[in-house]
Every structure is written in structure tokens, then in C-alpha cells.
């Protein structure tokens, strides 16, 4: 059974905080293909389209028939652990700080032999289940766990480095006045978060969701208005050095495009909340999170933005909203690189229309907030990076891949 995750202690202010370091970053262009699969939670390797041989490590032509028609395809993630070792010595600072480190070599059911980061419960000869994870330097890495899930496998300290499990971590939910905010607080409580900080703005506006949050055990609420730089700075000064998972669920949806609803004020609000809001949060919470990326087993790990799937493609019925989401997505990519040095990863979820008052006119299927929250926590536990949630978001991805001009012309609610 996996060793129990040590309970986080109150920080000793005299002790030096371990500085972040990252595992080796350099990868070939071919290997970046693995990162794309890992980001979306797939277990896919290159498969030769002529002879079907599965390739690993990634390469540019088939190691069997020499064809260059290799395609990333989902393959079985089962395999057998052939040999294992526990490193007591490493040439890299990241691993030196975390020794001992377990490794294994697996013969995959799909064919190739694969060197993996190995969970502590795997023993030579065992059947294992591999996953594509993303390591602290942002690169894809393959991990192996026992074939059948075991109790508390998320406690494995080594594999915890490659995910953002909320267990024993402190979470900031930016906006607690929406139903998604409430469902997130519930889901994080269930996932074992240590503390749940919840922001709320506009004190004159009552919210049953916020009231429900206040009634929960692990939550603390704070005033936080992402359109107000002072407000963001104030909260960061208060709890910035405790936030280990940031959940930016800023949300301001108003229907309308450009010609039929020329409304600079609405558009300005959307940009203030979605784009400048992200920028303000990043400016005040980002630096301290980046510096705490290696602060023990519970250090800062993820910055999650809940974005709309219309960040990828403008929906003219939500024209200015889509544009503000695209701006936020673009900025998140900048933030991703800037936080990378601290080993803190930016995660983006992309959701379709949800069941709420603002999406009233959108036809089904619509997402239930509880589903969104559940998927978000699961994705953090798995260490994903780009997470489409719901049928609408999934369909948009497929249509964009198939023909971006088609969806541009025909997208509707």
C-alpha cells in the first residue's frame, strides 16, 4: 500500500524554503508530440500507418518498415514491469532534491520497452497501468502504477510531482458567488483540500451560493474583485503565500455581438473580468506561487483557468464574450511559460454552455455546474493541461481540427 502522504505542518518561518528546480527540459521535436497527448490525458504513441508498429521513443520514421507515415494514436496502456531500480544518486538537481526515485522498464502490451517513473507499489513481474503525465518542466513523462487501482495511490510522493492533487493543498476559488464556485468548493472538500479560500465581489449583491460556501467547514471567504487592482493586491498580501492551487473562475457572460449590440460598457466589463482580471491575479499571486513550486510535498502546483470553449472560436451570438475569452486564453499561454520556472503549471479548462441564468437562451446540451467541478478536480488529480468539458467543447475541438472555416461560418448556440 502507498505510504501515507505526510500531513502538511505549519510553516516554520526560520527554515529556508526549498527553491524550485525542474527536471531536464530538452526534448526533440518528435517528443513534443507526447506532450500534446499528455496535455489532454490520452495515452497515445506513434503508430506506423503502413506496418502498424508502435514506436517509442518518438521518432520521425518507422523503426521497422522505414515509412514516415507515423500517427499519434491511442494505444493500450497495459504492460509488464520487467526490471526496476531505486535511484539513490542523480546528476540533476530536481531529482537530487527528491531522492530516492523509483524507475522501471516496462514492456508495453503495445510493443515497445518504456522507461517509466514507477509508483512505489509496483513489483518486478507485475502487470502495470501506464499514463502519460506532464512533469514539472512541462514535458510529457510516462508513469506506471499497479494495473488495478489501489487505495491512496494519489499519495505516491513521486507521482504527485506530476499531478496537482488537491489533497492537503490550499485552494483559492476566485469567485464564490456562482453555482460553479459552490460546486468547486464541494468538490475540493471531497478531494481532501487543506483549506479552501473563496473570493467574492460586490458586497451589495446577495448570493445563495456564497451563503452555502460560508456554511462549509474548510472554507474561508474573502472580498476579492478582480477588476480592482488594490483588492487583488490586498488579498495576495493576506493569503498569497498559502495558495497552492489557483482556480480562476471569473465569469461575466452577456449575450450579443458587435452590430446588433454595440455596447462598449459590456465589452469593457468582459475584458476587465476575464482578461485584465487574469492579469491582475497573475501579477499578485503568480510570483509567490512560482517561488513556492518546490515548497515541500504540498507546494504550489497549478493555476487553473475556467475558460469558455468559445475562446477557441468566436460564437457571434456571444461575440464580445468570446473575444474576451480568447484574450484570456492567449494571456494564459504567456503565464504558462512564466510560471514554468517554478514548476507551477497553467491548466485551462474549456466549457460549453452551462445551466445558469445567463445561458438561458442556449439550447441543450448544457453542463450542470456539479459536473464541471467534478471534471476539474479529476483533471487536477490526473495532471492534465487542456481540458475540454462537455459535448459542446468536445465537438468544437473536432470541428476545428476537421475544418476551421466550416465551424467559423456555421457555429451557433
Amino acid at each position: 500500500m502507498t505510504t501515507l502522504l505526510p500531513t502538511p505542518k505549519r510553516k516554520d518561518p526560520v527554515k529556508r524554503t526549498r527553491k524550485p528546480s525542474n527536471p531536464p527540459r530538452q526534448r526533440s521535436r518528435e517528443a513534443q508530440g507526447l506532450a500534446a497527448m499528455a496535455a489532454s490525458g490520452r495515452f497515445a504513441l506513434q503508430v506506423c500507418q503502413e506496418c502498424s508498429k508502435v514506436q517509442y521513443p518518438p521518432q520521425q520514421f518507422c523503426g521497422s518498415c522505414l515509412s514516415d507515415r507515423l500517427k499519434w494514436q491511442d494505444v493500450g496502456n497495459g504492460g509488464k514491469l520487467l526490471a526496476e531500480t531505486t535511484l539513490q544518486h542523480s546528476n540533476d538537481i530536481f531529482f537530487r532534491d527528491r531522492l530516492p526515485w523509483r524507475l522501471g522498464i516496462i514492456v508495453a502490451d503495445a510493443g515497445p520497452s518504456i522507461v517509466v517513473h514507477l509508483a512505489e507499489d509496483c513489483v518486478q513481474g507485475d502487470r502495470v497501468r501506464m499514463s502519460l503525465a506532464i512533469d514539472r518542466s512541462g514535458n510529457a513523462a510516462i508513469t506506471a502504477r499497479p494495473e488495478k487501482p489501489i487505495a491512496r495511490e494519489e499519495d505516491d510522493l513521486q507521482l504527485r510531482e506530476m499531478a496537482f492533487d488537491p489533497k492537503d493543498r490550499r485552494v483559492l476559488i476566485v469567485d464564490g458567488k456562482t453555482e460553479i464556485g459552490l460546486e468547486l468548493a464541494k468538490a475540493f472538500t471531497k478531494a481532501g483540500a487543506r483549506d479552501i479560500f473563496v473570493g467574492h465581489s460586490q458586497p451589495w449583491r446577495a448570493s445563495i451560493h456564497l451563503d452555502a460556501i460560508k456554511a462549509m467547514d474548510k472554507t474561508t471567504t474573502y472580498p476579492l474583485d478582480v477588476t480592482d487592482t488594490d483588492s487583488v493586491e490586498e488579498l495576495a498580501a493576506m493569503i498569497g503565500d498559502k495558495v497552492e492551487i489557483m482556480v480562476n473562475n471569473s465569469y461575466h457572460l452577456r449575450m450579443g455581438g458587435v452590430l446588433d449590440r454595440f455596447d462598449i460598457n459590456t465589452s469593457h466589463d468582459e475584458m476587465e473580468i476575464h482578461y485584465h482580471g487574469l492579469m491582475r491575479l497573475a501579477a499578485y499571486f503568480g510570483p509567490v506561487m512560482r517561488s513556492r513550486g518546490a515548497d515541500g510535498h504540498h507546494g504550489a502546483s497549478a493555476w487553473l483557468n475556467i475558460l469558455s470553449a468559445y475562446a477557441w472560436i468566436n460564437n457571434p451570438l456571444l461575440g464580445t464574450y468570446s473575444a474576451s475569452q480568447a484574450a484570456a486564453l492567449s494571456l494564459s499561454q504567456c503565464l504558462r511559460t512564466e510560471l514554468a520556472d517554478g514548476g507551477v503549471r497553467v491548466v485551462n479548462t474549456f466549457i460549453g454552455p452551462i445551466e445558469d441564468e445567463w445561458y438561458q437562451l442556449a439550447p441543450p446540451p448544457k453542463l450542470v455546474p456539479a459536473t464541471v467541478a467534478k471534471r476539474i478536480v479529476e483533471s487536477l488529480q490526473r495532471g492534465l493541461e487542456d481540458i475540454p468539458i462537455g459535448a459542446v467543447a468536445e465537438e468544437i475541438i473536432q470541428r476545428l481540427a476537421e475544418n476551421p472555416k466550416e465551424i467559423e461560418r456555421t457555429i451557433k448556440l
Binding site: P23, P24, Q26, R27, S28, E30, A31, Y56, P57, P58, Q59, G63, L82, A83, E84, T85, T86, L87, Q88, H89, S90, N91, D92, F94, F95, W101, L103, G104, I105, V107, S113, I114, V115, V116, H117, Q124, D135, S137, N139, A141
Partner: protein, 389 residues
Amino acid sequence: MVKKRQNYDGIAVCAPVTIPYSRYSLRSAQWFCGRSIAELIKSAKIEKNDIDGFCISSFTLAPDSAVGLMQHAGVSPRWLDHIPMGGASGVVALRRAARAIQAGDAELIACIGADTNHVDTFRDTIATFSQFANDAVYPYGSGGPNSSFAFLTDYYMREFGVSREDFGKLCIAQRDNALPVAHAMMKKPLTMEQYLNARLIADPIRLFDCVMPCAGAEAFLVMSDERAQSLHIPYTTILSTIERHNAFPDDPVQFRGGWALDVDEFYSQAGIGPEDINFLQAYDDYPVICFMQIEDLGFCKKGEVANFLSDKDLTVNGNFPVNTSGGQLSVGQAGAGGGYLGVVETIRQLTQQTQGHQVEKAKHGLVSCFGMINYDRGLCTSAAILERG
């Protein structure tokens, strides 16, 4: 019909040179190559320009290749080879050079394996070793060859019932062999207790299973036997050589090397068998690979090496001398020089130029090389049988 391979008649291998090793050096690989050329000239009593061919192996010459080195050395060879095969380079250099001389493309070839070792050299080398290693091994714990060999050793021990004591026997014998060797880095006797209880590096590998990376060079000359005779230098002849890359790619974990593919041809070209070999220089970056060589080169069957060694004394005075100068495990691993060490020691033994570690009546020596853990296994294997000239 398979064309019969030509033999190596008329070829002399001579002038064994070692540039003394140091753990770290401020000198460059170019310097170690230069010292090697100077020592070769001195040892064979020739002029620099008598050498008209060079064969160079080095991990740390960059940004130079063998070409740049020619300008450093002020030589104008008509034949030049750069062999980037790490531990397998020594025998490969030997067989390339021999063929060039037989063909008349060159008359006198210097073969040099040299590397420096600054404090950061080893890390830099393994951090950028190959595309597959960068993508799929180094980011996994950054253990370097230790982690790859830990897998091989773990698998091999379980599969073939080999114990740490079996490996210990070899390491201890090699240390005994190294004691009189002036340039050996490790010259304190090693006990079984020390071996078994040494610091864990990557289980089952412990400290004395690992070579010490250092700076140094190994070199030798290849020429016609007539030339060697006229120079009055003792030499050895070549009975047989083999070379193989990426053998058995479908083995999920390496438990054998290319030698197993070529062993029959190897002895048939030599006209002698394993029983006629007086000593073995086996590539020994880790003991498990020596065990594979003993099997794959036909001294015993796969899986029987522990039993085979049970009545063998592996020291220079024993009944199965292995790595008679202490091998890399005791002498140190001077980068690509490690791939030449076995060849140089074989020449020393067969030409009686040893330092108190002479194998008596040695007539046939087998040297075997192994190199380049590109991803999960060593890709290059080579071997040669040399005979007292």
C-alpha cells in the same frame, strides 16, 4: 554463397600507450590526444610524419572532430577516421586500421581513445547523449548509465539466478589485478564485505559496480608486421575481429549482446576456440556486462556464468584471467579511452610489457568491447583475438 572474410595476415598491432589518468583535469581532450601521439612516437622510435593515418575516439573533443585535431597536431595524414562508438571504439579502430593497411591506403596508423573530465563533463555528456536518451531516459531520474544498467542487472540477476557475490568475485579479482598497475586509479584491495555493503547507487548497483569517470587516454599503433620488425618493436597479430550494432532489437531488456550473433564466425576466422584463450579483456563499465560477454563469447552457455566461474580464479595468475590491468572498474573510465583500454592491455600482455601483472605464457588474448547506451541498451559490440607476434 557467403564470401569468406579475409584474414588479417601481415598486420602488426603494437606500441601500447596509456596517458596516466586523473579524476579531473583542466586539460582538454585535444591535449590528451596530443600526449598520446607524442608517446606513440617515442615508444615506436618514429617521426611524427611517419604516421599517415589516424583513428580517433573521444566524447569531449567538441566542437572539434578528428579533423580539427590534425591541425592541432600539425600532421597531414592520408587516412582519417573518427569512431564515435564509445566503449566499442577500440576494437573497431583496430579492425578499420588493419584493413586500411592491408589495402595500402595507409602505412602506419595511430589509434587513440582520449577524453578529458572537467567537473561538469560527465553530466554534460549524459545530459546530451542521444536523441532517445534526451527524450526518454535522462528526464527519468537523470541517473545516467547507472539507471540503465540497474535495469539490466536487476533483470539478469533474476532471470539467470546470479547473485551479488558472483559479481563481487569478479570486481575483487580485478582489483587484485590492478594493484601493481601504476596508472590504476583504485589500488586498495577490495574485500567481499566492502563490495557487498558499499553505498547503494541504484539498486542492485552499488558503488563498486560503477566505474569512475576520469580523464586519460589509451593508444596503440597499427602497421605491417614487416614495418614493426624493421622498427624492432614487439607486436601482436590479429586472428579475428567482429563488430555488430543494435543486435537483438526485439529483446525487451538487454540480456545478451551482438557477440552472441557473431561468435561462431569469430572463432572460425581465428581458427582457435575459447579454450585456447589465455586471458580475456572484457568491457567492464558494470560487472553484469562482463558476465554477458563471458557467455556470449562462448566460454559458457547463457545463464551458466555463475556456475562456470565457481572454480575459476580471475586474477592474472589464475586459471581464467579477466581484465588483467584491473579493467575500468579499477583503472578508471577515461571516456572513449575505456574502449581502447582492453586493446592496449592485450597488446601489453602479449608483448610482455606489463608492470608485474603478467599472465604467464600468454599467447592468445581476447578483447571485447561494448558501448553506447542509446536508449535502454548498449548498441555496439566488438571483439578481437590477438596473438603474440
